[in-house]
């Protein structure tokens, strides 16, 4: 116990824990909309599309300042999204195929750039590849302040356009009939999602970021059937996985933070899928058996 208190007094730990929690909150909220729009894979595409942006920002400016690299990431994320929507609209290729293509092309290009940078052998490149799987230990206080500001921006956007985003997620056709430009609305929501992804790149990295968007939303849906509550629960699940992943990885030597966050999240998702009332697998099974018992032995003959 005293060890834990000591840990919390630690600057690095405080920074990493807070950063991870912030990332969990924003990705939980924005991921909920992605999941409800059946665009769980969109997060995967967008986060992979961030990599070339990180590398190009470094090549152009020569700095490793996270704010600069993340700005590059945001631009290339957004270009990935624009390319995706454009190709889906203009061609007959199905959406999932286009997602596969955009993801691979952007990520492949990012890896090419990353290799090119490392072959140049200049010392400053050390650390760019941490954007692949994230490295929370590199977080400093200013990064957390930036993350908090971006997170606040993303959450404020959701609060402001809550009604529009809900309508878009539930019934885009009806939204169109009311006069909303659903293309623009979708692009707006995607742009806010890009902000959420950028927040996570330093901590979780481009490869695992998709899980941070989908996981909290899937877990939260199990516990509630109201969108507003689902957003809150998803934020809590995200924050809890961020915190516990960070704490576990910091308390042991040689445990990576990003993957530990994802593993904590996975544990919460599994528990939710099994145990949640109404929708949990175990709850469902027990309930079904209970009902059969109520009907009595003579009624059990009809199967089902």
């Amino acid at each position: 116990m005293s060890a834990l208190i000591e840990l919390l007094g630690d600057y690095t730990l405080r920074t990493v824990a807070l950063g991870s929690a912030l990332l969990g909150i924003t990705s939980g909220v924005l991921g909920s909309f992605a999941v409800l729009r059946r665009q769980g894979l969109l997060g995967d595409v967008l986060s992979h599309a961030a990599l070339p942006g990180v590398c190009l920002a470094f090549l152009l400016t020569g700095t490793r300042t996270p704010a600069v690299l993340l700005a590059g990431a945001a631009v290339s994320c957004w270009l990935g999204a624009a390319a995706l929507f454009r190709v889906v609209e203009e061609t007959r290729v199905s959406e999932d195929s286009v997602m596969g293509i955009v993801l691979s092309v952007f990520f492949g290009f990012g890896i090419v750039l990353l290799t090119f940078i490392s072959k140049r052998g200049d010392a400053a490149q050390a650390g760019l590849n941490t954007y692949l799987f994230g490295q929370a230990a590199t977080l400093v206080w200013e990064n957390v302040v930036t993350m908090a500001a971006l997170g606040l921006l993303a959450i404020a956007a959701v609060v402001l356009w809550y009604k529009e985003f809900k309508l878009l997620a539930f019934d885009p056709e009806f939204a169109t009939s009311l006069g909303y430009n659903t293309r623009r609305l979708g692009l707006l929501l995607t742009s806010v999602t890009v902000v959420a992804i950028v927040i996570g790149l330093q901590t979780v990295g481009v490869v695992l970021m998709a899980a941070m968007l989908v996981g909290p939303a899937v877990a939260a849906r199990q516990w509630t059937s109201r969108l507003s509550r689902m957003l809150v629960v998803a934020a809590l699940v995200g924050a809890l996985s961020g915190l516990s992943g960070a704490l576990i990885s910091m308390s042991q030597p040689r445990l990576p933070t990003g993957p530990m966050i994802i593993l904590s999240l996975t544990a919460l998702v599994v528990v939710s899928l099994l145990l949640a009332p109404e929708r949990g697998l175990l709850w469902e099974r027990r309930h079904r058996r209970g009902r059969r018992r109520d009907r009595g032995p003579e009624a059990s003959g009809d199967g089902a």
Partner: protein, 256 residues
């Protein structure tokens, strides 16, 4: 708006030379359709005839290659607030985390515009609309727990909350139980009595003459349109459905 009285003023809906294609595939050819106010009209035709496309094009939801649409004498963009819409029930995911009242409230979003949230007045109106479809007791029910018929009523209540003059409904009777079907018919008649104009995509040839005043027979082109007794003839149905005409249906039609 001018008077709601049947014949006065411009027609509720005037479609001229409407042609729509998805990519290169034409769906609607040169459709002319004018509907007077205050009537129940059925759009009838085989699968793939372009029935849904017709109402979507009328609401500017799919781009038209050619043609114009006027709602009460003016382009749709200026008259949006006068139009209500009931999409096909199966077009949304009913496992979405929300309740019946919340869905009905969406009908008020159009006049609320961006950012503004529904308040007490909107909630009261939504509750009133739920009452009109006999769903008051289900206001706070999670929508996935509603039966197909109840879900359809929620969609109708949402359209009522739009407070429109002209309603487009896409298969409002599809997959509903007999009780709901009767309730919907009553609701349509009530709306007509209030002077509203209703246009429904309908698939059941047998019930069509009982439920509707007018019919538009469609199969890519408009085959015939007019009062039920004049347009809903065996000859027109054969022309609409070709060889695929479901035989018992002809019994309901007026002799050619």
């Amino acid at each position: 708006m001018t008077s709601r009285d049947g014949a006065a003023g411009p027609p509720a809906l005037a479609i001229r030379d409407l042609t729509v294609a998805y990519r290169d595939k034409p769906v609607l050819w040169d459709v002319d359709l004018t509907l007077p106010r205050g009537l129940l009209t059925a759009i009838i035709g085989p699968n793939g005839a372009g029935k849904t496309t017709l109402i979507k094009a009328a609401m500017d939801m799919v781009p038209a290659l050619a043609g114009t649409v006027e709602i009460f004498g003016r382009p749709y963009r200026e008259q949006r607030r006068l139009v209500g819409y009931v999409p096909q029930r199966t077009s949304v995911d009913w496992d979405f985390p929300t309740d019946a009242l919340d869905v009905v409230l969406m009908g008020t979003y159009g006049e609320l515009g961006w950012v503004r949230r529904p308040g007490r007045a909107e909630i009261a109106r939504a509750m009133d609309c739920l009452e009109q479809v006999g769903m008051t007791a289900f206001a706070r029910r999670q929508i996935s727990q509603l039966s197909g018929g109840q879900q359809q009523r929620v969609f109708l209540a949402r359209a009522l909350a739009q407070n429109a003059e002209l309603y487009f409904m896409d298969e409002p009777f599809a997959g509903v139980d007999a009780t709901t079907e009767r309730a919907i018919v009553e609701l349509l008649k009530t709306l007509r009595a209030r002077g509203k104009t209703l246009v429904c995509v309908h698939h059941d040839l047998q019930s069509a003459p009982d439920y509707f005043d007018w019919v538009a027979l469609l199969n890519g082109r408009l085959i015939a349109a007019g009062p039920m007794a004049q347009a809903f003839t065996e000859e027109n149905l054969v022309r609409t459905y070709g060889g695929r005409l479901p035989l018992p249906a002809v019994a309901g039609a007026a002799p050619a």
